[in-house]
C-alpha cells in the first residue's frame, strides 16, 4: 500500500479528515459509476409505456419482465421479426462463437510468441522481432480498415477483384472470408498489446528457472506448459479479459465484415435495431422515417426497455469475464511503457 498519508498519528483530526475525504471522493465516484448500471437494469424492468413517459421515473412504478420476454422470444412476435430477422440468441451465439474462438486461439499464439521473444531470443534478433510484433500496435486501425476489408473479400489480395492470371483470362482463385465469422476471428487472434503484456510478464521470470528446467530435460514446449504457464496465470487472465472485451464489444469491424442476418453479432444487430428507432440526422425525411420506425416498434411492444435488455445482454459476458479474472488483474499487468 502506498503511504501518502503518514501512518503515525493516524488519530489526528486532520489526518482523519483527509482519509475521510478520500473515502468520500472514491465513494462518490463509485456511485456515479454504478448509476448507469442501475438505470439500465431498472429501465429494462419497466413497463413499455412508463419508459416513454414524461417525466421519466427513476424507480420503476411496477416491475415487469415484459421487455425481457419480448426480446428473448423475439421470433414469436410477427411485428419485430420484420425489424430483426433472427431471434436474438442467434446473434448472441454468433458473438460468443467469434469471441471465444478469437480469445481461445489468440492467447496461446500470442503467449508463445512473447515467450520465445523473451526467453529464447536474445540480442539483435530479439529486438527486431519485438519491433516486428509491436510495430503494428501504434498504427491506427482505420489505416488498415479498407485493405483488410478487401482482404476478406478476395484473400489473399487487397483488391476489389482478384487479378487475372497473366496470359489467361481466368482470375486467381481467392478465398472469401467476408461475411463469415473468420473475417472477424482471424485478425483478432494476434493482438500486439497482448504481446506487450505477455512479454512484460515473461521478462520478470528469472532466466535461472528456465535454465533449471532445461537442465531437468524439459523441451521448450514442455517448459512453457509445465513451468511458465502456471506462473503466468495472472497475465493470461488480464489478456483474456481485455481481448474478450475488445472482440465482444467490437463494432466497426463487425459492421464492415458481417452482413447476412444470420451471421451478424450482438453489437451489429443492436445497432441495426436502434438505427430503426432513430432519426437519420443528415437526411431531410428523417422525421417521417423516425415516426414510422417508432410506430413499428411501439406496435410490437419493443421500446427503450427492450433496448436496455439488449444493452444488458451485451454487457453480461464482459461482466462475467471481469468477475472471473478480477483476482489476477492487478498481478498480471507488468508493463513499463513502450521503451
Amino acid at each position: 500500500m502506498a503511504a501518502l498519508l503518514p501512518k503515525v498519528g493516524m488519530r489526528q483530526p486532520k489526518l482523519r479528515l483527509s482519509r475521510a475525504a478520500i473515502a468520500a471522493f472514491l465513494g462518490l465516484g463509485v456511485l456515479l459509476h454504478l448509476l448507469p448500471f442501475y438505470y439500465i437494469v431498472s429501465t429494462s424492468l419497466k413497463p413499455g409505456a412508463e419508459v416513454v413517459s414524461t417525466p421519466p421515473t427513476f424507480i420503476p412504478s411496477a416491475i415487469t419482465l415484459d421487455a425481457w420476454k419480448l426480446v428473448l422470444q423475439i421470433g414469436d412476435n410477427a411485428e419485430i421479426v420484420q425489424l430483426v430477422q433472427e431471434p436474438f440468441w442467434v446473434y448472441f451465439v454468433n458473438s460468443a462463437f467469434i469471441t471465444l474462438l478469437a480469445v481461445g486461439l489468440g492467447l496461446p499464439v500470442t503467449a508463445l510468441a512473447a515467450y520465445a521473444n523473451s526467453k529464447l531470443q536474445s540480442g539483435r534478433s530479439a529486438r527486431l522481432s519485438f519491433l516486428f510484433f509491436i510495430g503494428t500496435m501504434m498504427v491506427p486501425f482505420v489505416v488498415t480498415l479498407v485493405p483488410m476489408y478487401l482482404l476478406t473479400l478476395n484473400f489473399p489480395f487487397t483488391l476489389p477483384d482478384a487479378p487475372t492470371i497473366p496470359g489467361t483470362d481466368s482470375e486467381f482463385p481467392t478465398l472469401r472470408l467476408w461475411d463469415t465469422p473468420w473475417a472477424v476471428i482471424l485478425p483478432a487472434i494476434f493482438v500486439p498489446f497482448n504481446f506487450l503484456l505477455f512479454k512484460g510478464f515473461f521478462d520478470t521470470i528469472p532466466d535461472s528457472v528456465i535454465n533449471a528446467a532445461r537442465v531437468d530435460g524439459g523441451s521448450e514446449l514442455n517448459i512453457f506448459r509445465r513451468i511458465v504457464m502456471p506462473m503466468a496465470v495472472p497475465v493470461f487472465a488480464v489478456t483474456a479479459y481485455m481481448s474478450f472485451g475488445s472482440v465482444w464489444d467490437n463494432f466497426l469491424w463487425q459492421l464492415v465484415t458481417l452482413q447476412s442476418p444470420d451471421k451478424v453479432t450482438m453489437s451489429v444487430a443492436t445497432y441495426q435495431l436502434i438505427d430503426r428507432l432513430s432519426t437519420k440526422g443528415t437526411t431531410g425525411g428523417g422525421a417521417a422515417a423516425q415516426a414510422e420506425g417508432m410506430s413499428d416498434l411501439l406496435n410490437s411492444g419493443l421500446t427503450w426497455n427492450g433496448m436496455m435488455v439488449l444493452a444488458i445482454l451485451q454487457s453480461i459476458p464482459i461482466f462475467i469475464a471481469f468477475l472471473v479474472c478480477r483476482e489476477y488483474l492487478l498481478r498480471g499487468i507488468k508493463i513499463r511503457g513502450l521503451k
Binding site: P206, S208, R214, M231
Partner: protein, 373 residues
C-alpha cells in the same frame, strides 16, 4: 566424469552493436581446464570475471564461440543441456514456484517419462540423505520456504537424478552467515559421499578453499591460476593471486635490489644467498603476508620502522593485529600479544616473502608451501 575445456572463448554481443566486435573484451578468453573424475574444482574470482558464464557453458546453456568442451572423450558441443546428465544448483535456487517441493523433484522424472513410483522412491531416498525434516519441505509450496529450505530443495532436485556432474553457481551466497557455515559442511559431506565431479562457482575465497580440491582463480575471462590452496597461497603466479587470497591484506613494498641487498625506504637488508642468486638487481615489489614478519627492538638496527595507526585484537583467534605504514606503504602485521606503542621495528621473513616484478605483476620468486611437519 572428466571434464576438459580446450581454448574456449565466448564473447557476448555488446548492447547496441550489430555484431560481436573483435575488440570487445570476451567473457571467456581462451580457457583451458582439466577436471579429473570425482574432483571438485572451485571457480572463484571477482564479479564479472566470467565464472558464471564458464559454468553455464559447461552446462550447455551457452555455446562457445570457439574451443571445445569434452565430457570424458566426447565433444559435447551438440549435446543439449538436458542430455548431459548434469545437476545444477543456481544462486537464486530457481525452484519452480508453482510446484511443491516434491513437484520440483518429480519434474525431471516426468519429462523423462519415468514412472511415478521411481520418482517417489528416489525422492524418498534423497529425503533420507538430506536429513531430518526434509520430507516436510517436499509437501510445501516452494514460495513459502525460507532461503535455507529452498536451497536444500534445490540441492535435492539436483542430486535426485544421479547426475554425473554437479554444477553449482554460488549456491549458498544468499544465505545468512551462520546457515552458510552449516550448509557448506553439509554440501561438502554430500560431495564426498557421491564422489561426483563438481564445479563450484563462488566469489568467496573461504568457500572456494573449503569446497574445492583445487581452486581456479579467474579474472577478466581468464583462468589466472589453478591449483590447490597451498599452491595459490604460497606460489602465486602474480600479484593478483597473492592479494586475492588471505583474509588479511598482503603488504606490497616497492623496493630495490642491489649488491645482494634489498633496500626499502630507509631500511636495508642483506638478502639470503638463495634469493640473492635469483634476483636481478633493480626495482622489485615485495609481498609480505601479515604473519610473515619478524620483530626486533629499535636498537638492533636493520629493521624498518612501522608507524602504527591502530592495534586490533581478534579475541576469537587470539591475535593482535597492528595496522600502519612503513615508508608510505600500508602494512598489517600479526603482532606479539600485548604489543603497544606507536612504533614497531619489522623485518620480513625472507622464507615467506614473495617477489614481484616492479613493472608488471608477475612473480619473480615465490616461497612455496612451508613444510609444517
Amino acid at each position: 566424469m572428466r571434464i576438459r575445456l580446450a581454448d574456449v572463448t565466448k564473447r557476448y554481443l555488446r548492447e547496441g552493436s550489430l555484431r560481436v566486435a573483435s575488440d570487445e573484451p570476451p567473457a571467456l578468453d581462451h580457457i583451458s581446464l582439466d577436471i579429473a573424475d570425482g574432483e571438485t574444482v572451485s571457480v572463484v574470482g571477482p564479479s564479472g570475471c566470467g565464472k558464471s558464464t564458464l559454468l553455464r557453458l559447461v552446462a550447455g546453456l551457452e555455446t562457445a564461440d570457439c574451443g571445445t568442451v569434452h565430457y570424458d572423450e566426447h565433444d559435447v558441443a551438440d549435446v543439449a543441456p538436458q542430455d548431459r546428465g548434469i545437476g545444477m544448483v543456481f544462486q537464486d535456487y530457481a525452484l519452480y514456484p508453482t510446484m511443491k517441493g516434491a513437484g520440483n523433484l518429480k519434474y525431471y522424472f516426468d519429462v523423462h517419462r519415468r514412472t511415478e513410483d521411481e520418482a517417489r522412491a528416489r525422492a524418498k531416498e534423497i529425503a533420507d540423505i538430506m536429513g531430518v525434516g526434509f520430507e516436510l519441505l517436499l509437501g510445501q509450496q516452494t514460495t513459502t520456504l525460507s532461503g535455507g529450505e529452498q536451497q536444500r530443495v534445490a540441492i535435492a532436485r539436483c542430486i535426485v537424478r544421479d547426475p554425473t556432474l554437479f554444477l553449482m553457481d554460488e549456491p549458498i551466497v544468499n544465505l545468512d552467515a551462520k546457515l552458510r557455515e552449516s550448509t557448506r559442511m553439509e554440501m561438502a559431506k554430500l560431495l564426498k559421499r557421491y564422489g561426483i565431479t563438481t564445479m563450484f562457482v563462488t566469489h568467496d575465497q573461504q568457500e572456494a578453499v573449503f569446497m574445492g580440491d583445487r581452486i581456479a582463480l579467474m579474472r577478466a575471462g581468464r583462468v589466472v591460476q589453478i591449483g590447490t590452496f597451498d599452491e595459490l597461497y604460497y606460489s602465486p603466479v602474480n600479484l593478483f593471486v597473492a592479494t586475492f587470497f588471505g583474509s588479511r591484506p598482503l603488504a606490497v613494498l616497492p623496493a630495490t635490489v642491489a649488491d645482494r641487498t634489498v633496500r626499502f625506504g630507509e631500511a636495508a637488508w642483506p638478502l639470503p644467498a638463495v634469493l640473492a642468486d635469483r634476483l636481478e638487481p633493480g626495482p622489485v615489489r615485495i609481498g609480505v603476508r601479515p604473519e610473515a614478519w619478524r620483530f626486533a627492538g629499535a636498537e638492533s638496527g636493520g629493521g624498518a620502522r612501522m608507524a602504527v595507526d591502530r592495534i586490533e585484537s581478534v579475541p576469537a583467534e587470539r591475535l593482535t593485529l597492528a595496522h600502519g605504514t612503513v615508508s608510505g606503504a600500508r602494512v598489517t602485521v600479526v603482532a606479539p600479544a600485548g604489543t603497544a606503542g606507536d612504533v614497531l621495528w619489522l623485518t620480513p621473513d625472507w622464507e615467506a616473502a614473495t617477489f614481484f616484478a616492479a613493472d608488471g605483476e608477475h612473480a619473480l620468486h615465490t616461497p612455496g608451501a612451508p613444510e609444517f611437519f
